[in-house]
């Protein structure tokens, strides 16, 4: 049984965290998708490695939060931090790991000049929404919209096969 005898150590993301992030994601979603995380971690390390943080307990990563700083997107001219992905190993949930990660990420984003932190949450993800509200997020004056595109006919045909 995992124990949390000491506060998790929060530190910036590194390329050697990919395996543990893949493992945490696999535990949370049941899907093994290393290629997705290799791409995402590569992206965040290029942009600003200190904006994304991981939580370590006993030398093993038990949580991660991937974020970066942007400006001028969606007509939002202010410099804002965006939290794209985060996850906490189920064995370590409910122990403030997410809160500590969030504090570290927001601290860095503020230092870099962010005046807001933004993210998107699935309508069906009540736990995540509850966590985000608990750390201070409120409804934004924006609505997420999407338009589903049908695949090209050839691709659709091959998908059916």
């Amino acid at each position: 049984v995992a124990t949390l005898s000491a506060a998790p150590h929060i530190r910036p993301l590194s390329e050697l965290d990919i395996s543990r992030i893949v493992a945490i994601d696999e535990r949370l979603t049941g899907v093994y998708r290393p290629d997705v995380w290799e791409r995402r971690v590569g992206y965040y390390l290029r942009r600003d490695p200190e904006a994304s943080q991981v939580a370590e307990v006993g030398g093993s990563v038990v949580g991660f939060m991937l974020a970066d700083l942007r400006g001028g997107e969606f007509g939002l001219e202010d410099t804002s931090g965006w939290i794209e992905r985060f996850g906490v190993d189920p064995d370590f949930q409910g122990r403030s790991v997410g809160r500590r990660l969030f504090d570290a990420v927001v601290g860095h984003l503020k230092e870099r000049g962010a005046t807001a932190v933004r993210t998107l949450v699935g309508n069906d993800d009540g736990d995540l929404a509850a966590f985000l509200r608990a750390v201070g997020f409120t409804n934004a004056p924006l609505t997420a919209l999407e338009l589903r595109l049908a695949p090209p006919p050839a691709a659709a045909g091959s998908a059916k096969r």
Binding site: P12, L13, S14, E15, L16, I18, S19, A23, E26, Y32, P34, D35, E38, V41, G42, L45, R46, R47, D48, P49, E50, R70, H108, E111, R112
Partner: protein, 439 residues
Amino acid sequence: MNVDQTTLPKKYHDAVLHWQRHHFPDYDLLPQNWERYFPNEPDFCLCAKMELGMGDSIEVGEHQGEHRRETPAELGEEPARHLLAIIRAQASTEFGSIQQHEGTLARAPDDEDRFWVLRVMAEELRHGYQMLHLLVSQDWSGVSGQKAEEMVEEILSMQTGSHVLDAFNLEYDSFVDNVVFAAVIDRVGKYQLSMQRVCSYKPFAQSMPPMLREEAFHLAAGVIPLRRWAQRAAQGNPLITMAAIQRAFNKWLPRGLEMFGHEKGGDSNVRFGFKNMKNAEAQSLYYDECVRMVTDLNQRFLRARFPKLSPAESEATAARLLSERGRYEGVTSEDLVELPDRRFFRRKGEPAFTMVGTRGEPFDDVDAYVRHLAAHLPEPYLHSRDVKQYVEALRQVRAGQLTVEQAMKRMPALRRVGGVCPCSKAVRWVVERPDGAAA
């Protein structure tokens, strides 16, 4: 995070661009392809970046708590001389790695990998530029005995074979070296930059955080392609094998370990407040981190080969294969990557010229050890001058014709010495030009 950006005086800036045209001709491909491979990311800037807002107090060493020094004169002669050697070595590594990467860059099997390495090279150019900034923005003549122009000239004249550290004097054999170098040798760079963050000389300390941020991607540019190659190897792609990756690790790791300096050294760095760890401590942490890296690669390989294995089963399988040298569903320990023993193929430091195999096995016979090297190093590298000279020195040491200390000093035997710019026998890298004249 607040960073001040500055450019070198024109004659030095032009000298770096001149150097780039000769040694890094692919540089111009980067801006042309930036948006494709690095969309919405800030453009590359060839400039020196100084972190603002760092503490003013010396963090370690005999002057801990005092104000950080801001000029070489404030350091005192011995520490200034010592730091100058560190800055020169750092500059040499930055320019040296570009020369190495350039040789095999075009052989990258994937364009994305190629442009990642290209970005790494550009950022190494910026790091070299940063070191030149440290050299020319202050007066080091009291300890260098050289004018700033002469120091820059000397650094820009180094070539593969005449750099300060051995790792930068080896040619790459294939694009596998580009990637393994980024994963193994750039990792030493990360350790050095992290240790130097505490430096009692403020301009050097201020140079570290921006370089470290860029270095994080350099390591990813090594590890992520390696992970993908491990997957392809597991899926039966005959063009990339775990054996090729293993041999490249065997080539580079010994040089990486030696970049920390002699295992018994590092006292002066800590005493002067230049670094916060001695050599052996940093080297040990580095080795452990490399162990983690290859453990991850093996997991990537096994999960790709056996998708039904759970993470725990995969870890147990790798551990069993490596400890028992057994077989699992056609996979053997030879299909996995293992970090060579830290004494393997060493020519500097405590284990220099001891004959220890990849798994720590001792050898008594030179010929048997040379056969062991031949079986575990990349085949094209075996035919290099570097291996030949190592073997010759080893034979002399074992025959009692050379002491280990003498042999260490011989390595590397400088193959090429620096000279003038190759576009003219008379033109030097650093030249005064009237404003507006083409470099």
